[in-house]
Amino acid sequence: MASVVNPAFLELRVLHKRYGGREVLRGVDFAVAAGECFALVGPNGAGKSTTVRAIQGLTPTDGGEIRIGGRALAEMGRAARADMGVVPQTDNLDPDFTVQENLWTYGRYFGLPKALIRQRSAELLEFMALSDYAAQPIHSLSGGMQRRLTIARALINAPKLLLLDEPTTGLDPQARHLIWQRLRELRRQGTTLLLTTHYMDEAERLADRVGIIDHGRILAEDSPRGLIATHIPGDVVELRRVDGELPDPQDLHHQWVSVSERVGDTLICYGTDLSPLLMHFAEDPAYRWIQRPASLEDVFLRLTGRDLREESE
């Protein structure tokens, strides 16, 4: 395991947190190795953002411990944040400042010397493809550019640990791909990344390991491939009837597949050999079907259930 070779850089041990009577973290426990990218995926209200706030020391916890670089966060206090970069879920750039003024101002919050701030700002704007907009006001930037600036801002202190809370939510595919490239580049340079997301493709593309979190607990934790192999070996067939009626009402599929579930008008079957199932239904004109490899999304939905989560964290 990677965490044995590399000592854990960030460790969360049985973290508990209550808001009033509601337990939002119920023993969150995972470790991230130095230079690793760990993705915390979970539905809304699962405890992702609370976990990220706890790692910054911005929320008192009701039990458990966080260690960074072998030291207890509780003893480090705000010094811990000097080596951290944070990309928050809600954009909070300074709307009255230009692009570069945002970086300069933020650098001062870290107490960095002016010359270093200027130098890093120029480099970071280059890295995030924003150099041409350095003197532009924030409101002239697109959503994707504002996110890139927020990431550049989070890097002004050259952090060892970068926390990204849903970094690409609401962005178009082009903007997301550019951000993913830059995050992979940072990881290659040795930055430890912890990101939360509810986009499975994002976790699959970026993360060395994924922790699936729900109701304040880590349900499973492994590499994206490992999670799929463990929880959904093989392929997936989705079966629907053209007329919208219940597919396979007599449950014939049970003789060919061991794992299946019904979701609305769809029957989803999992297995390594799904050909007998397809032989029966594929020729039937009343049916529509697709066969695809199992994805992280299948694992996620099987572990966290398919009920809608409307509440926000």
Partner: protein, 258 residues
Amino acid sequence: MPIGEILPGAGALAVLQRNFGVWRKLLVPSMLGNFGDPLLYLLALGYGLGHFVGRMDGMPYITFIASGIVASSVMNTASFEGLYSAFTRMSAQHTYAAMLATPLRVSDILTGEVLWCAVKGLISAVAIIIVASFFGAIQGPWVFLALPVVLLAGLSFGGLALVMTALAKSYDFFMYYFTLAVTPMFLFCGVFYPLHSLPPFAQQLAQVLPLTHAVALLRPLLTGHLPHEVLYHMGVLLLYTLVAYVLAWRLFTRRLLR
């Protein structure tokens, strides 16, 4: 919480610098308000009303009112900054959240904000002093001693306003503070007429309010006299500043570090 958490560090200056940077961007409309409003007040009250009032407390009414307007403007400016502007930074712009993701602590942010309220109060006071000087309504050798008093008054009004901001759910909440605190102080603390014209119980009540003490210090200093009971008046303003700071720190900590 250890006691060290409540004491601000150098980070407060970065917060102050940030606010100053934003203010500089909006310099023209801001200065127009700083110079324009007192000019209108001085003309309307000093000349208009002053024509009927004549002299008050041994000086022309425009001279009497000018120092009162300096004091009340410090209150209004510092209060507005600590209420509406600070609330905007906290809730609409999430500026505090951005700051807390850095080594800045609640005490650094709060201190930067209180200092900025005081600086804004000082800017408005200086603007009025300049305008009123042209009317001959500010005079004497002690004008420069008024500036530290203005800063202290700005700290106390800014601190009180930030207590309200730490409690506020929306901008509407601030109407309570204006109606129950700012407006009564504006009207009953000696800005427009001397305190001794109020009935005794009202005079005693006024002693509890910070603006009374700001006026008691600023009026003599801005009209060529040295104030009486300097330590008492400064002490009350200092007490307000410290109590408001501790209270605001507790409330902001509870709100921001949930």
